[in-house]
Subunit: 239 residues, 2 copies
């Protein structure tokens, strides 16, 4: 008898490796812009700071370089790549296409009950974040989370490793990451939340073309919001 409880298929990865953990930490740090663009990463110094040996650190750096998050020069080590403005704009164009494809695939393949639930939760979280009762300073963080969750569900539903990878590298430009989306005008955010609902409906109704169209439009709208916000920032700097 003694039916041993089989560990769920999704969690046999209790044990990770130091390189893996390091790669995660550094990836997050890079996306958060913790390292200035163009700066060199000194291996021995970084290793001391992170309290690890050079070997797993190098492993992590090689991986991140493969992902395009770092640049490597033969006897000169790893550097944080600098992104031009046009690169940022291109990233949004590419991301619009990739997110659109993800939405289309999600609509074609349909949502499992679990994913549908998560998406509805994300939308509800967004509602709460945008409600008048919510304190302004909490709003940004809350909405950023809801926004990221919404997109993450679609990425999963698309069931394509390749599309996920493409989206990942589209967001390797810090400024385009989902976390930064919140820094914009409140009205813009409301419009984008409405777009989320439309996209949700298109996916639920299994309308791939419509889902793709809406999602593309949505991401390009985010691009415009960002451009406008950058303009304001620059205008502010001039004072």
């Amino acid at each position: 008898m003694s039916e041993t409880v089989i560990s769920p298929a999704s969690s046999p990865r209790s044990a990770s490796t130091q390189s893996r953990l390091l790669a995660e930490r550094l990836r997050q740090a890079l996306l958060d812009g913790a390292f200035p663009a163009g700066s060199r990463l000194n291996e021995v110094h970084l290793a001391r700071t992170l309290e690890v040996s050079r070997t797993p650190l190098r492993a992590a750096l090689q991986t991140l370089a493969g992902e395009g998050l770092l640049h490597h020069t033969p006897n000169r080590g790893f550097t944080v790549p600098e992104q031009s403005l046009s690169a940022i704009v291109d990233a949004y164009e590419m991301r619009a296409l990739a997110e659109g494809l993800a939405a289309r695939l999600a609509a074609e393949r349909g949502l499992s009950d679990a994913l549908r639930q998560r998406m509805e939760d994300a939308l509800a979280d967004g509602d709460r974040a945008l409600a008048p009762e919510t304190a302004d300073d909490a709003r940004r963080g809350l909405y950023a989370e809801a926004n990221a969750a919404f997109h993450a569900v679609i990425h999963e539903a698309a069931q394509s490793q390749l599309v996920r990878d493409v989206l990942r590298i589209c967001q390797r430009v810090p400024q385009t990451s989902a976390h930064n989306i919140v820094a914009f005008d409140l009205d813009d955010v409301r419009q984008r939340h409405a777009a989320h609902r439309q996209i949700y409906e298109a996916i639920i109704c299994r309308e791939p073309r419509e889902a793709e169209r809406l999602m593309r439009q949505h991401v390009l709208a985010v691009k415009l919001s960002m451009a406008r916000w950058f303009g304001q920032q620059r205008a502010g700097d001039a004072n």
Copy 2:
């Protein structure tokens, strides 16, 4: 006066590193399908085979894993990922979008004289490859090269590292790589060559939207060619 000839800006990388060279070799081998999908790569064995030490080999493997060309499991090493049929189809969808964007950017930004020349050379090479005088067995290799050159020029002209990276991972599925394109029906290849000319004209005439539309259509046509060819192959296998 001994004017020391300054090495051109593009070639101060005479010295490379073993990891780098290994990564190149392995990348090529993987794209050529030299390793069966799903197989594990034994580090010590591979190191002996390639006559290198484990350290640079591991460095190369980490990089390739970052690029998505290999999969890594914590205490189990590196494996060649298996691609489902739907993954291959998805890759073409994504590639159509990315190549389309590249064509659009190229049309927006225009071609330098050098690039324009290279593109015309590639088209002329394609003409020669498809001429009736060309021996059938040489045709494939010749056209594959011309085809790759044509697309490479557009990728360069787009001037976007991100788009290049996206295209790279779209072609990490061996079957979608430019080299394999030639295995199809000759009439199909002729049609695609004609499409190349149209795309060239759209770019020269600085018509971004048209260039993008044509390129998308072109890549999706390649997808259909491939699907048809796969069907024939399978039908042949059944005999």
